[in-house]
Symmetry: C2
Subunit: 518 residues, 2 copies
């Protein structure tokens, strides 16, 4: 047991301490408890990831007393450890590799043609680098957010007001379940072979260099994001997709642009297909995947299968100890105040189901904190912007063109490149980090559209493929909820080159009482 | 004279036609006039760049009849031809080269150590690629915006209602001067040698590979942006700065972060210094620059000098023909309706002086159009967001910390990396396209701060160094003008990883009635 209550470790020191704990099975817990605080805990957060940590931080800021318990020696949860952050590292690698491959042998670029680059080295780099963010989270949570915690120790829920951890029992007014979710596994023969990875095990366990063929099961965000990285390393990449890929992007043109680009990079999409069997070699590593396609069964030789077919909640302990109600997949049911079916027990984050996104986890924590502190507060997750990465950054909000046309009689679309036969061969859009493409490979330079209700002149949808728009979509989504019009957009001050061109395109059309597309 | 009135050229065709015109001295003008429109022109725009083209587009959308005349065979002006767009291409190259140099020999990266890469090849690429955007502007202006024009022909202003161009005279109710600005030249011996470039002549005239030393005169945006590119190519790069560089960034920490990074890349800043003489070789190309520094005079051997010491307006013809009033530097004076001192004559864009930015040019055109069409409309340029590029994308708005502390008694700062001794060695911030740095070279992964008035909880300043925040700053500036608070930010839906972390950092603090920094 390492009592850190009276330490004031630097971020660098935290990084070393976390590293040591992670590399040693059965290492000591960290305990940070204020012995001078006689108050009962307002809430114990089971899990210190995005939802638990933000909930505890907010509760502390409100004047309450939170305690976080987590099995890992760091706060921040799976995101910086083996979930969202590595995906961003791999997506950056994919973007960089596509650029280098496109420009192979031109300008100063090396020739990467036909060269397969290491997946393992990128994974290893991430594994070495991830303790930096971990350390910041511990430092920030302790020194800046005033959060008490017990880390590096599994917790046991005894009842709605009692938690056992690191050999001690803690009493609390409320319990906040924030234990997250894990990747769903394939339910086929051979699913437990080595060489079958999900986003977490890839980072934790990859100890060999994958061969030249990768099979990815799934067509959602995680599947696409990782598949693009594997493809960019130069490997044959086959996505086995039960229905259609990219179904979350509700605009056909945007989806088509993306799929065209992925196929152009050599990615194979096997649609309406499923992996039915995985075979291993003498060492227990996968050596082939059998896939059922609409045309029949095919076997692909591969030593590397990546599975991204959804999530399962880590709800077992809470269900067993408390009997909290769940949905059919085991996600814990909560009301708009983040309350479970059990009095004084809240649940937040991935544990309560879709969308499994950072903003929902963090805001859920915040809303739970408010309700616990006596401020009735309802969280309705809706109308949020969204994103994923292919080799590009893709952001969107609101309605796609098809749904917009169903719901509005006068839909106006502002699009770049222009909707002409040679539109995709012109160097627009050209945003920052897309300029080299714009100059030498125009059709790779991105795609964007803004969808407007021509009657009210309000923005009802926005889509962007390129780089650098994601930050803007956060604020744009907020403005769209306020009723943002083309006229307001036309009055804003754009920063040229703005990745989306939305402001300038609106200005070009805003002078007209009858809005037109372009 | 090529009459394009009844053509409907594709973008590709426009590209070919523009290319042909540009490569041939004395080539024919393009004329696009509607012979069926009996109306007098509401405005002739002298210059079809950002201000003229947007003004004409807006006026057309309002139902008016504009005519654009331009000496170039394309609309869009200097921006896509030799000003802002090439700077973005070069800045992308700088960002890419810094990444490749940082990772030289690691992962899949080639070894660029000590290797000087070609400037000329990048310039040539831009010169070949720039007609794509030109073609889109012509296509869009003609087919989508319904703008009449005479291009590829110099105009002569005869009086406030008459312009001669391509051998014809056109009458108009109003004139809009939109002829832009040009780079100011060095006023020293040898300033006319070959090998002395500004942003325009670099693109138009570079016909040799510069040697290993570059001298840049200036410390403003253009100087910094181009100097970073030259540096990233592997050349010794000396900036000769009269006062201090980056003075436009009103936050000391942000400025310091940037200067530290530029110096780390090897850039030399010679402060309080001036070029006093340029010497040439037998062929009339510069071979050395003499610089007066606080420590005395020094000579630098170089065959490549880049000058970015401000702008001069292209106002001579309008002054001579119309007698419009100007300021001491020759920029045309306008009121908030974009009216000059001469009745029925407006001026817009760089021609009316600072800030020489795209949004001001375009909005000036829009405001001129409204006033011309009888809609009294006042444009006050203020509180706009801003940006520049080093090897990074840098965006800012509002007050820097120093001025904020002078004006507000309770200033709260949210900063990343954290303000600790080892802050700059931790892998945060980590935004998209900065993730590789975050994992292996943390101090290169960026810098950001949000400045808040703790009493009203309103955002009063924001600064970001990294990638991908510029788009957001457009909308953030709009929200800040509306009075954006940390509480509103904390309720927004962030897209993780958002480059700035502003939303999440605000949420961590928003629970407290008394705001604290972090």
């Amino acid at each position: 047991m390492t009592d850190v209550t009276y330490t004031s470790w630097s971020i660098a020191r935290w990084s070393e301490e976390i590293e040591t704990r992670l590399s040693m099975a059965g290492s000591e817990p960290f305990i940070n408890l204020n012995p001078d605080d006689a108050r009962e805990f307002d809430a114990i957060f089971i899990g210190g990831g995005a939802s638990g940590r933000f909930g505890a931080g907010y509760l502390s800021a409100m004047g309450g007393r939170p305690l976080i318990v987590d099995r890992w020696p760091f706060l921040g949860g799976s995101c910086p450890h083996n979930a969202c952050v590595p995906h961003h590292v791999f997506s950056d690698a994919a973007a960089q590799l596509m650029l280098e491959r496109t420009f192979s042998g031109r300008l100063w670029f090396q020739n990467l043609a036909d060269r397969i680059v290491s997946i393992k080295e990128v994974v290893d780099m991430f594994r070495r680098g991830r303790n930096g963010p971990h350390a910041v989270m511990n430092y920030q949570s302790k020194e800046q957010l005033n959060i008490e915690f017990v880390l590096n120790a599994p917790a046991e829920i005894l009842d709605a007001h009692t938690v056992a951890v690191a050999g001690r029992q803690f009493r609390t007014r409320n319990l906040v379940l924030a234990s997250g979710a894990r990747a769903r596994k394939l339910d086929v023969e051979g699913a437990d072979l080595s060489g079958i990875f999900d986003h977490a095990s890839l980072v934790e366990r990859l100890d060999y260099e994958p061969g030249s063929t990768v099979v990815v099961a799934g067509g959602g965000k995680t599947a696409i994001e990782y598949a693009c990285f594997f493809n960019a390393t130069g490997r044959r990449t086959v996505l086995v997709v039960r229905d259609q890929p990219l179904a979350m992007i509700k605009d056909r043109e945007t989806r088509t642009y993306l799929l065209d680009r992925m196929r152009e990079q050599g990615m194979e999409f096997w649609l309406h297909s499923e992996i039915t069997r995985l075979e291993g070699d003498a060492n227990g590593r996968v050596r082939s995947a059998t896939v059922r396609t609409p045309e029949g069964e095919t076997r692909i030789d591969t030593d590397f299968v990546f599975v991204a077919i959804g999530a399962r909640p880590n709800s077992e302990m809470a269900v067993a100890a408390l009997g909290v109600a769940t949905d059919e997949k085991g996600f814990i049911r909560v009301d708009s105040r983040m309350r479970t079916s059990v009095p004084d027990v809240y649940a937040v984050g991935d544990l309560v189901g879709s969308p499994l996104e950072m903003f929902k986890a963090r805001k859920g924590g915040m809303y739970a904190a408010r309700n616990i502190m006596g401020e009735e507060s309802h969280y309705h997750v809706k109308d949020y912007p969204d994103f994923l990465h292919t080799h590009y950054e893709v952001s969107w909000l609101g309605l796609g063109e098809e749904e917009a046309r169903e719901r509005y009689r006068n839909v106006v679309v502002l699009r770049m490149p222009p909707d002409t036969p040679d539109g995709h061969d012109v160097a627009l859009p050209a945003g920052d980090r897309m300029m080299l493409y714009a100059m030498m490979a125009p059709r790779l330079s991105g795609f964007q559209k803004l969808i407007i209700d021509g009657d009210t002149r309000r923005v009802i949808g926005a889509f962007h493929v390129g780089c650098g728009a994601k930050e803007g979509f956060q604020y744009l989504a907020h403005l769209v909820k306020q009723g943002l019009t083309v006229d307001e957009l036309g009055e804003m001050d754009e920063l040229f080159l703005s990745p989306t061109y939305f402001i300038q395109l609106c200005r070009l059309r805003a002078g007209s009482k009858v809005l037109k597309g372009m």
